[in-house]
Symmetry: C2
C-alpha cells in the first residue's frame, strides 16, 4: 500500500463528504444514526468474530491485560453502543441555529450561524466503542470523521465501520462521511495530523504521552485533554460535614477518572478538626495519604509528600494533602501545580467563593460541589467527545457544540459601504 | 544579549502579570488606558524624536517607500492613537460575565464565565500605531501582551511602550502586562512562538508570507488571517440596480482591504444585461477586468482570465469575472477558490439566499450587502484586532470577545456525585 496516496485519498474523500454532511437535513443525519444502530444490532455475530480475531491477535502479541480488557466487545458493550446511537439521534441539532442577530447603524443585520467544523480526525487507543461514540457525535454535528483507532482493534473497528456505512447509505449520505483508516501502519497517524487541507481539527483520546506527541507534531489544530490534576480547597469558613462529603466523593467515588481530586488543600485554621475526620474516611477506603509537614503532624498515617506529589495525576487510591494559610496560598498552589482541569472551593463565605471562581484559571471552577461533576453529561451537554484543557475554542467538557464553529451571517437589502 | 534568557524573562514576567490583570477591576484597566493616552499626548516630542530616528535609519537602509510611509508617526496618527485609547476604555468589559447558568438534575448550577486568554503575543510589521491598538485591546480584555513589532520601528515602539507603562503604573497594574520586545534580533520571533508555557496565543498581523511562516513554525495556537479572496455572486433573480451598486462598492470603495471583492460571479441568465452596465462602471473607475470566455464574449474590454486569476487577492484595481450556470456552480467556484473570508449573494429569492448562507463555508456570508461590511466596527464589535480565516475559536472579525475564552463555573450546595 502506498500510504501517502491512501491517506490523501481518505482526506480528499472526507473533505468532499463534509460538504454534503454540512448541508444535510437533521433528519438525514438522525436516520443514518438509527440505521447504523440497527445494522450493528443485526451484525452482532460479525462483530463478535472480528473482535475475536483482534483478541486472538492481541493474545498472540502478548498485549497487556488492561488493554485486552478494553479491547473486548462484550454483548453489554455492544448494547451500550446501540443505546449511545439512539441517544445521539435524539439530541438537538446544533447546526444552523442563528444567534445574536442585531441591526447595525448601516442597516445591515449581523448574526452568527452555528456550522460544522468540517473534517475531524479522531486518534484513539484500544476501545472499539469509541469508533461509534466519536463517529456519531461528529456526524450529528454535521462533520465528516476520519477515525484512527488502535492497531490492535483494527478488525473490530472495520466491522463497526461497515455498519456505520450502511447507516449512511440508508440516509442517502456519502459513505466517506465516516472513514476508519484501514491499515496498522503507524505512519498513518503522522500523515493524518499533517493534512490541514483535508482535516480541520484532531481530537486525540488516550494517554498523556500519546496526546503530547500528537500536539507537538500536529500541523492541524488539536482539541486536547492532557491530564486532570484536580484540587479541592477546604476554606476556613467551610461547613465541615459538607467538606468531608465533597472531599471524600471527589477522591473515592471513582479513582481512574480525570475529574478525580488528586490534591486536597486545607486551610490551617480548620485543618486540625477536619483532617482527622477525613483521614478516617480515606484510610477505611484504602486511600494512601501523602502530606506536607503540617499534614503529617496532624495525621500519623500520612507519609511525607515530595514536590513530585503536587504534580501527580495518581488515577488511583493515593491523595496528596497540603495545609495552607490562606485562600491566596491555595490559589498559588493551584496556579503552580494544577493541570487546569477542575478545582473546587468548599466555603460558606460568598466573597471568597466569588474570588475563587473568578481567579482560578481552570476549565471548570466550582463552589461546594464535587470535582466529579466535571463531565459533559452532568453539565447537560447530552454527550461528550472529551474534556479540553486548552483555552482556545473549547474549554472543559466538549459536546456537540464544541464540534461546531460560528460564522457571521449578514442580511442586507442592498446596503453598500460609504 | 542572551536572547533565550531575555525571552524567557519576558515570558515569565508576562505570565505573572497576566494573573494580576485577569483579576483586576474593569476600572483599573480603563484608568490605565486613559492614563496611557494622557502620557502619549504629553510625550509627543519624545515620540517624534524616536520616530525620526527610525525614519532616518530606514532611509539609510533603503527601506521601501511604502514601508517608510507606514512607519511615519504623523501628528494625525498620534491623534488617532489617542482616540483609539479613549474608545477602547469606553467599550464594555467582556471579562467576568456569566451566561447560560442552568440547574442540572443533580442540583448543581452550571454556567460559563468569560475569562481572558492569558498572554497574547502580537507579531506585526512597520506601523507603530499597532502597538497601541493591540496593547489596548489585550489589556481591556484582561490579557497580558508581548509585542514584537517590525525592527524598523523599534525606537517608536519603545517610546510608545514607555507611555503604556506609565498608564499601567498609574492604575496600579503590573508593568509587564504590556511588553515590547527590545531587540531587532529576528530570532526573537522564533522564541516567542515556541513558548507555550508563557504564551497562550499568537496574533500575527502582516502579509501572507509572514503569517504562513509563523503558522507553520508556531508551537502556540495562532489566530490568523491569511488572505481575503472574496466573491460576489449575482443570482438570476437579482435586482439589477442593487447588484450593480453592491458589485461596484465591493470592488471600488477601497482596493487594498481584505474584504474587497476579487472575483465577481454572474448567473448566465442575467449576465447579458448586468455585465455591460457593470463594465461601464468598472472601466470608468479604472478597474481592469479579467474574464472567463463567456465574460469576454460579452465585454470587449475584458482580457482573458487564467486559472491563477481565480486564486488571486489583487488588492488593487483588477477584477476577475466569471459567468456561471447556477447557484450550485457559483458555490462550487467559491468552494474551490475562496480563501473563506467573505462572500455575498445578490438575489431576490429567499430560498436561494438561505441556501447560500447555509452552505457557503466562509467566515462571513452575506445576502444583498457589500463584502466591505466584513469588519469589526461594522459588525458592532467596537474594535477589531484582526479578521480570522481560521475555523476554531474565532472566525471572522475578532474583537474583545475573541481575546477571551469561557470556563465552566459550577455552583453547588454540597452536592456529591452518586
Amino acid at each position: 500500500m502506498d500510504l501517502d496516496q491512501y491517506m490523501t485519498d481518505v482526506g480528499r474523500a472526507a473533505r468532499a463528504a463534509s460538504r454534503h454532511v454540512a448541508a444535510s437535513a437533521t433528519n438525514a443525519r438522525n436516520t443514518a444514526l438509527l440505521a447504523a444502530r440497527d445494522a450493528l444490532d443485526a451484525a452482532r455475530p460479525a462483530l463478535a468474530a472480528a473482535n475475536a480475531a483482534d483478541m486472538e491477535r492481541g493474545a498472540a502479541n502478548g498485549l497487556d491485560p488492561a488493554l485486552m480488557d478494553r479491547l473486548e466487545l462484550t454483548p453489554a458493550r455492544v448494547d451500550s453502543m446501540l443505546e449511545g446511537l439512539t441517544q445521539v439521534a435524539t439530541l438537538p441539532d446544533p447546526v444552523g441555529s442563528i444567534s445574536d442577530m442585531n441591526a447595525m447603524p448601516s442597516g445591515i443585520k449581523v448574526g452568527k450561524m452555528r456550522v460544522p467544523l468540517g473534517v475531524i480526525g479522531i486518534i484513539y487507543e484500544s476501545r472499539p466503542n469509541v469508533t461509534v461514540e466519536a463517529a456519531s457525535l461528529c456526524l450529528k454535528s454535521g462533520n465528516a470523521t476520519i477515525l484512527r483507532g488502535g492497531s490492535e482493534a483494527l478488525e473490530s473497528n472495520m466491522a463497526i465501520a461497515r455498519c456505520l456505512t450502511l447507516g449512511l447509505q440508508q440516509a442517502g449520505l456519502p459513505e466517506a462521511a465516516v472513514q476508519v483508516i484501514e491499515t496498522r501502519d503507524r505512519a498513518a497517524v503522522g500523515r493524518l495530523i499533517s493534512m490541514p487541507e483535508y482535516v480541520d481539527v484532531i481530537v486525540p483520546r488516550g494517554g498523556k504521552g500519546l496526546i503530547e506527541r500528537i500536539s507537538a507534531e500536529a500541523r492541524v489544530p488539536v482539541i486536547k485533554h492532557l491530564d486532570g490534576n484536580c484540587h479541592v480547597f477546604i476554606d476556613e469558613d467551610a461547613d465541615e460535614d459538607m467538606a468531608v462529603a465533597i472531599a471524600v466523593n471527589a477522591k473515592t467515588q471513582r479513582y481512574g477518572t480525570c475529574n478525580t481530586m488528586e490534591t486536597l488543600l486545607v486551610h490551617a485554621s480548620i485543618a486540625g478538626s477536619v483532617l482527622p475526620r477525613l483521614a478516617d474516611e480515606y484510610l477505611s477506603a484504602g486511600v494512601e495519604l501523602r502530606g506536607c509537614e503540617r499534614t503529617c503532624a496532624l495525621l500519623p498515617a500520612a507519609i511525607a509528600a515530595t514536590e513530585a506529589d503536587w504534580e501527580e495525576e495518581y488515577l488511583g487510591p493515593v491523595l496528596a494533602v497540603r495545609v495552607v494559610d490562606s485562600l491566596q496560598a491555595a490559589m498559588d498552589h493551584i496556579e503552580a501545580h494544577s493541570s487546569r482541569h477542575t478545582e473546587t472551593i468548599v466555603t460558606r463565605d460568598h466573597a471568597r467563593a466569588m474570588r475563587f471562581l473568578r481567579e482560578v484559571d481552570s476549565s471548570s471552577v466550582m463552589v461546594n460541589a464535587s470535582t466529579r461533576f466535571a463531565d459533559g453529561f452532568e453539565y447537560g451537554l447530552g454527550a461528550e467527545i472529551g474534556i479540553s484543557t486548552d483555552k482556545l475554542h473549547a474549554r472543559g467538557p466538549v459536546g456537540l457544540e464544541g464540534l461546531t464553529s460560528q460564522k457571521y451571517v449578514v442580511l442586507g437589502e442592498g446596503q453598500v459601504r460609504s
